[in-house]
Amino acid sequence: MRGWEGVATWANGALRREVFSFPSGGRRLFGSLYAPAAAAPPWGVVLCPSWGIEFQELLQPSHAFARQVVDAGGACLLYHPPGHGDSGGGLEDVSMGDLDAAATDAVQAAEARLPVCRWVAAGIRLGARAAIHAAGAFDSDTVVLIQPALRVDRFFEEMRSRTRRARLAAPLPGGDDGEEEESFGFPLPAPTDASQRSEIELRPGAGWTVGLVSHGQPDPVGEASVDPVVVPGRWRAGQDHAPLFEGALAWLRRSAS
């Protein structure tokens, strides 16, 4: 034994950190918990990340957000979805259903670690879809959606457009020679994939409370009671997304008080 176990936690006077893996659909996923060091927090948020290049771009501000949640008295669980980061599986084999199930399993992992905490699912961009799925699975009536991309087909079309722009309108790599299309080094699902059809769309149900944080006026999200937080500016890939996370934190603070 080389002593790799037993060093997965760290704490100082204000912050407790724990890193771990949890099962989801036959894979091991990476989880990272931020919590106050002194007392069990009354509330917590599981942040469901976006896909591919957006997962990576939003990871650093997600850690800053997690730290701010602790400073506000809550706990925060970050996780890497299947096929992303340090989690198991390859992105080429991951379906939308796998991403949705991972969010549910992440909430379960969070509850196992801090059971007295009232956990809320939050999702950013494509992760909003997973957050709605997780909230439904746990009979929660509250969800936080950050610049949500609820239409899977539109999200991947946006990824294709962004990739074409970055390549100065050149064809997507792999797209013309029968190989899989890719976006910034991430394999895109085929447009004919059933999980990308426009009708594959999750909406929060009637009676839910939805914290909706977005640039500009948000699109309607079903019949839920929406509490919008409008952030100045507009969504642009690769920009500083800190204002979105600040909006989400403001909503969570308000909701917890």
Partner: protein, 276 residues
């Protein structure tokens, strides 16, 4: 294969890391170093997958986020050099794997850190650098720096073959000026004790310089340079770049281990043979 998420204590705070452990016998310890702006898992999990492949060969693999980045966000950088906390993390890792030889893999500016870590290792077996940034020697034009590196590597082989000892500052006067801070000095030193592998894509800006590191025979003793045709490896923003990098690095480590296993004296082999 088992993956252990860990926090490694350093003077800057805890570094978040993953240790990948083989299921079978442990044969070598590998440290993978990304540039400080990237994450430990790499684009589309390049380094996470590479670590898993290496574990299948018997490697115990460390991947850590740089201070202030990703899972190391809690750590506070105290100095502009991100390599210092990574050096401490590597010491922590190597203190637990002291019975194994060390292999270091670095990409871009991470290659520079990896070279420094390999140089400091008591049991280095190899250094793999993917699209390394060749740090300029002070005041010297690029062509002269590369020529000096090439000559220094040839001199090093000659010195080893003849068994004579030449003071470093006499043997490599120009390189010695920069040896403490530059990649070039570290490579020369590591090449004296372990295999060095340099990988470029021929669309990489650095690829033109890379060819000049090679001897006419295509293989310069402990230093091997490979250039992958038709691809830009730098930052791995294509699936083909990821596939090439992963398979070639894993293949190189595999050959390194095979050569060592074939040798009657594994320590001697790992320090004198280049993995072809």
């Amino acid at each position: 294969m088992t993956e252990h998420p860990v926090f490694i204590p350093t003077s800057a705070g805890p570094l978040g890391a993953i240790v990948t452990e083989p299921t079978g016998p442990e044969r070598v310890a590998v440290v993978i170093v990304e540039p400080s702006a990237d994450f430990r898992f790499g684009v589309n999990q390049l380094w996470a997958r590479t670590a898993r492949d290496l574990a299948d060969l018997g490697a115990v693999v460390l991947r850590a986020d740089h201070v202030g980045r990703g899972e190391s966000a809690t750590a506070t950088p105290e100095a502009p050099d991100p390599g210092e906390s990574l050096r401490e993390a590597t010491e922590w890792f190597r203190s637990r794997t002291a019975d194994l030889d060390g292999v270091y893999v670095g990409h871009c500016l991470g290659a520079q850190i990896a070279a420094g870590l390999a140089r400091a290792d008591e049991r280095p077996a190899g250094l793999a650098m993917l699209t390394p940034q060749l740090r300029p020697m002070r005041g010297a034009p690029v062509e002269r720096r590369l020529r000096d590196l090439y000559l220094a590597l040839r001199l090093h082989r000659l010195r080893a073959a003849m068994g004579v000892s030449i003071p470093r500052r006499l043997a490599y006067p120009r390189l010695a000026r920069d040896e403490d801070e530059g990649l070039v000095g570290a490579v020369v030193e590591v090449a004296g004790r372990a295999s060095v592998y340099c990988l470029f894509g021929d669309h990489d800006p650095q690829a033109g310089e890379a060819w000049r590191l090679r001897s006419p025979s295509g293989d310069d003793g402990n230093v091997r340079v490979e250039i992958v045709p038709g691809v830009n490896l730098h930052h791995f923003r294509s699936l083909s770049a990821q596939r090439e990098s992963r398979s070639r690095v894993v293949g190189w480590v595999g050959r390194l281990l095979e050569e060592r296993d074939r040798s009657p004296d594994p320590r001697a082999s790992s320090s004198t043979q280049g993995a072809g």
